[in-house]
């Protein structure tokens, strides 16, 4: 009982700090040196595969608390200890708790394993030291490189949590922070460069892969283009076997030998902002090795016992970025990002020649290049808004497999098992007819502005299109800053394709706009911020 009272008192103290801040409705000053901010958010998602159906697939309730403690200022820690060359230091933390009540509301989610139902963790916790011209950030953190928005090229340092709403949330909220050291040495002018600095990142042991749900019972499971089922059968010849699949996750352990790291030099050359980046990492997307040597076919039990290893190859990412503000003719900011990555895992179709699949494990690593050209432009469309410009941002993203083979394959699908043209009930097999194209393209466009006397209505339009598969994605957003604390947001996501049946690599309408797997969504959220 006493403990309960203490907890209640603690909770009420927290509420009083956050809901009734005395002097500010932004950051809350707990003391002269400690600041708190954060939010509580409820997000509901309705999914409709057609015009006349819909189901609630998410009711995520999130509380986030962020704090900053200024414990070292003017070369003194805690106001008394001299710290020599360290001028300033702060401790920052960001903690998040999330509970998706849809798992308790909907009967159909009752038999899931509760993965994705809740999350409570300190996502970020780091200390910043300022020792001019050197700065150091130590701790669990996010680091973002590159000029590209919402596609992976140089922004690969932190893995992504794609399990609860794919990549459709702010990446700040779905990046998985890692324990690392980030040191930056400010150079300033050197040779032809201005505003230059050198950055070094060391991730000594903390490797984590992208988090993807493949359990079809989860609303945002990644199940490929086929059925939302798990393959339970295999067909060999004309015979149907039970499939007993063992997936061994060969994840790098937390040893220094599995460390990651990289560096970046960034500066202004002429009027062009440029950076040279290198990152020695581990692929956050696993490759799959088929262990033929461990696979057994038991004719007595009519079972195929297959073993696959999820492996995470070493990667080398070399990148170059540039940005340029062209004020005279186009009044646009041009962004460029190019990368060359070695160590991208690919799957190889069964039966590929030994020259393609030398180990016979249907797995290899390849080199891949990316070129992204982006344009940002504040643009007047006075017919739609005569007070404020639209911020228009567009990107052209081109990814190319430098070592390409027609045997490389994309994501597999699950289809009903059938023998001799007859479909067998409740039996599903995995198939893969999805070949990787050597060149992959996607084009994005977004426009946003604000309306209302104080700009509190904030619409946004997003469009992404894959010209090869003709898969597309649209997002319409309207955010309303109702009061100083309360923000409402409504979103509509559409997945559609223009024509054809080819599956592209971007998870757009070619994958989630197809009947049976359509994921058009309506999102409503209410946020209390402080």
């Amino acid at each position: 009982m006493i403990m309960s009272r203490n907890r209640i008192a603690l909770f009420l103290s927290f509420l009083s700090l956050t809901l009734f801040p005395a002097v500010s409705w932004g950051i809350v000053d707990v003391t002269d040196n400690l600041e708190l901010e954060g939010y509580v958010k409820a997000q509901n998602i309705m999914r409709a595969s057609g015009l006349h159906d819909g189901e609630l697939i998410q009711q995520r309730n999130t509380a986030q608390l962020e704090g900053k403690y200024y414990f070292l200022e003017d070369n003194k820690a805690f106001g008394r200890f001299s710290t020599g060359p360290i001028e300033e230091a702060t401790f920052t933390f960001l903690a998040r708790g999330a509970y998706d009540s849809v798992y308790d509301i909907r009967d159909s989610y009752e038999d899931t394993d509760d993965k994705g139902k809740s999350e409570y963790k300190v996502r970020e916790a780091f200390v910043d030291f300022l020792m001019p011209p050197f700065t150091l950030r130590l701790g669990r953190q996010q680091v973002v490189w590159g000029e590209t928005d919402n596609f992976r090229a140089l922004d690969v340092i932190n893995p992504l949590d794609l399990s609860w709403h794919w990549s459709r949330e702010s990446w700040e909220d779905i990046r998985i922070p890692l324990w690392m050291a980030r040191g930056i040495y400010d150079i300033g002018k050197i040779g032809p460069f201005e505003e230059s600095f050198f950055e070094l990142i060391v991730i000594p042991w903390d490797f984590q892969p992208n988090k993807v749900s493949t359990d079809p019972r989860h609303p945002w499971a990644f199940t490929g283009a086929g059925l939302a089922e798990t393959a339970n059968s295999a067909i060999i010849g004309d015979e149907l076997f039970d499939l007993d699949l063992t997936i061994r996750d060969i994840r790098p352990d937390r040893k220094l030998r599995n460390g990651q790291g990289g560096f970046r030099f960034k500066g202004i050359l002429g009027d062009v902002g440029v950076s040279l980046n290198y990152f020695y990492g581990i692929s956050a997307t696993p490759g799959v090795k088929v262990r033929g040597d461990l696979t057994q076919l038991n004719l007595d039990t009519q079972t195929l016992s297959a073993v696959v290893d999820k492996v995470y190859p070493r990667t080398h990412v070399l990148g170059l970025t540039a940005n340029y503000s062209e004020d005279r003719y186009t009044q646009s900011v041009f962004r460029l990002e190019t990368t060359l990555t070695k160590g991208i895992p690919v799957s190889i179709a069964a039966g590929a020649p030994i020259g393609i699949d030398s180990d016979g494990d249907q797995y290899d690593t390849v080199r891949q290049s990316v070129v992204m050209l982006g344009i940002d432009r504040p643009t007047w469309i006075k017919l739609l808004n005569d007070q404020r410009t639209f911020f228009i941002s567009t990107q052209f993203f081109w990814r190319r497999y430098l070592d390409h083979s027609s045997f490389y394959q994309g994501v597999s699908s699950v289809i009903p098992a059938s023998i001799g043209g007859e479909v067998i009930a409740d039996r599903f097999v995995s198939t893969n007819t999805n070949r990787l194209d050597r060149d992959e393209f996607v084009i994005t466009f977004s426009a946003s502005t604000s309306y209302g006397r104080a700009g509190r209505w904030k619409p946004q339009f997003v469009f992404a299109y894959d010209p090869r598969s003709t898969g597309a994605y649209n997002k319409l957003v309207l955010e309303y800053l109702w009061t100083k604390h309360i923000v409402f947001k409504a979103e509509q996501h559409f997945y559609w394709r223009e024509s054809g049946s080819e599956q592209g690599p971007w998870s757009l309408g070619d994958l989630w706009g197809e009947a049976g797997n359509r994921r058009n969504e309506t999102v409503f959220s209410a946020t209390f911020q402080f």
């Binding site: 500010s24 409705w25 932004g26 950051i27 000053d29 002269d32 901010e37 962020e66 900053k68 920052t92 960001l94 970020e124 910043d128 001019p132 011209p133 700065t135 996010q142 680091v143 973002v144 490189w145 590159g146 928005d149 702010s170 990446w171 700040e172 990046r175 930056i184 400010d186 300033g188 002018k189 505003e195 230059s196 600095f197 500066g267 202004i268 902002g273 340029y324 503000s325 004020d327 005279r328 009044q331 900011v333 940002d376 432009r377 504040p378 007047w380 005569d386 007070q387 410009t389 604000s450 209302g452 006397r453 104080a454 700009g455 509190r456 800053l481 100083k484 923000v487 911020q529 402080f530």
Partner: protein
């Protein structure tokens, strides 16, 4: 005295149209003073042309109210602002017109050899003093020279400035409140730069938002160059993106962040000289909140304007600016710039659609030496040592009101300025792209 000025490109600025003239005559027959609601460009021009009162019309120590409006206030408050500044219960305290010396070494370390080019753009100037010590009304470039003195005035940079901004509707309701801090340093200091090797930089600024939470942690860095033809360089760090983004400086005509001002309105005029035609309209005495004791109380029926605060009669240069761009939202901009200190007191911008008032701004200033006797209020979220302000002999910008007459809506800002001196090494580190690649989250 009739205005004879013309734009420096030779064209005369637009005179009163017969239709508006007729309306004016009818108005004059109906009432002895200007119509309160008339906020046209023509009416402000007429107000400027008409009587030019002396400072003796009001006396130090007077507390002026609505009843003093016609006799004392109308000649000293620009006509376009009457609608907002005259209201029941209004009160203005009149102080003696002060003399505000510039910093001790002001003008002693200026580089020579600068000039105005054919566009009226100042070339080769690197600060340290006013570029033009005399303004001659007969000079065809008088307006630009006033403007250049304003842009290079002492005290425009070198501070920590925590601010709070209120966005209010006409009924006084608060639509949005923002807290943010600007830190700003002058690099170009006459015959030397603060940071050797950075002689091309005029000033650098970093501004960071503190609230509301949807903007907290957003910060931008701006580098302004000595070469006026070179656009500013800018980067914006958004916490949601966790990286800086290059920004475009040449779009200056859209409202910023829901506020009732555009970038070109900053300090009366924050655009490019060569993108406009210029005319000098002579000197005009106006009332100005030039040395307020503190951030002024905000009053009026809409809570848009300073109330119960201290005003002085100030001599101002009046300049007329006409944007050359056909798609610019303004037909004309009229700015009243202090003839001694070259700080902007009033700015009025008129809608290209109908020549009616679109936006206006009025600034609140405080002289640094007055902090010795009248310390200002601290901001709610950071405490500063205001005693450091004393001795600089410059003005502190304590805030402004920006009104969009067409919405109608206003943005009122209180600034809490403390002078800050950067060492060259500290400035080099603080105002760096390195400082923009991460933020409070």
């Amino acid at each position: 005295m009739k205005l004879q000025a013309k734009f420096t490109n030779g064209t005369h600025y637009r005179r009163t149209s017969p239709r508006i003239l007729m309306a004016g005559v009818l108005l004059w027959l109906a009432a002895p003073s200007y119509a309160l609601e008339d906020q046209s460009y023509e009416s402000l021009m007429k107000w400027i042309e008409d009587s030019r009162p002396g400072a003796e019309t009001v006396m130090p120590g007077q507390h002026l109210t609505e009843k003093d409006r016609q006799s004392l206030l109308e000649p000293l408050i620009p006509h376009s602002a009457w609608k907002y500044y005259f209201f029941d219960g209004m009160e203005m305290e009149i102080a003696a017109t002060g003399h505000y010396p510039a910093p001790d070494a002001w003008g002693e370390n200026m580089a020579s050899g600068y000039k105005l080019d054919e566009e009226g753009t100042l070339v080769g100037f690197t600060g340290g003093g006013f570029p033009f010590s005399e303004i001659n009304s007969d000079d065809p470039n008088a307006a630009q020279k006033v403007l250049w003195n304003m842009l290079w005035r002492p005290g425009s940079n070198d501070y920590n400035m925590p601010m709070v901004t209120w966005l209010r509707s006409e009924d006084g309701s608060l639509d949005r409140e923002m807290e943010y801090t600007s830190v700003n340093t002058t690099y170009a200091r006459g015959d030397k730069s603060l940071v050797p090797g950075y002689e091309e930089v005029k000033s650098k600024k970093i501004m960071e938002f503190r609230s509301p939470r949807d903007m907290a942690g957003a910060k931008n860095m701006t580098i302004e160059y000595v070469d006026h033809y070179k656009e500013d360089s800018g980067w914006l760090y958004m916490p949601a993106q966790r990286k800086p983004r290059r920004t475009l400086a040449s779009e200056r005509t859209g409202e910023m962040m829901g506020m009732d001002m555009i970038r070109e309105d900053l300090n009366g005029f924050g655009g490019k000289v060569y993108e406009n035609n210029w005319a000098y309209l002579g000197k005009r005495k106006v009332l100005a909140t030039v040395n307020v004791s503190d951030n002024p109380e905000i009053g009026g029926p809409s809570l848009w304007v300073p109330h119960k605060t201290r005003w002085e009669v100030r001599d101002t240069h009046v300049i007329l600016i006409e944007p050359k761009a056909k798609d610019h939202p303004y037909s004309h901009r009229i700015v009243f710039i202090d003839a001694e200190t070259y700080w902007t007191h009033w700015m009025f911008a008129f809608d290209k659609e109908d020549d009616q008032l679109l936006r206006m701004a009025q600034h609140f200033l405080k002289y640094s030496e007055s902090y010795a006797t009248e310390p200002a209020t601290q901001s709610s979220y950071v405490k500063q040592d205001f005693s450091k302000n004393i001795g600089h002999k410059v003005f502190m910008h304590l805030g402004e009101t920006d009104i969009n007459a067409k919405k109608p809506h206003a943005t009122i800002t209180h600034c809490h300025v403390a002078k800050r001196d950067f060492t060259p090494a500290r400035a080099k580190q603080f105002y760096s792209l390195r400082n923009m690649i991460s933020g409070r989250r």
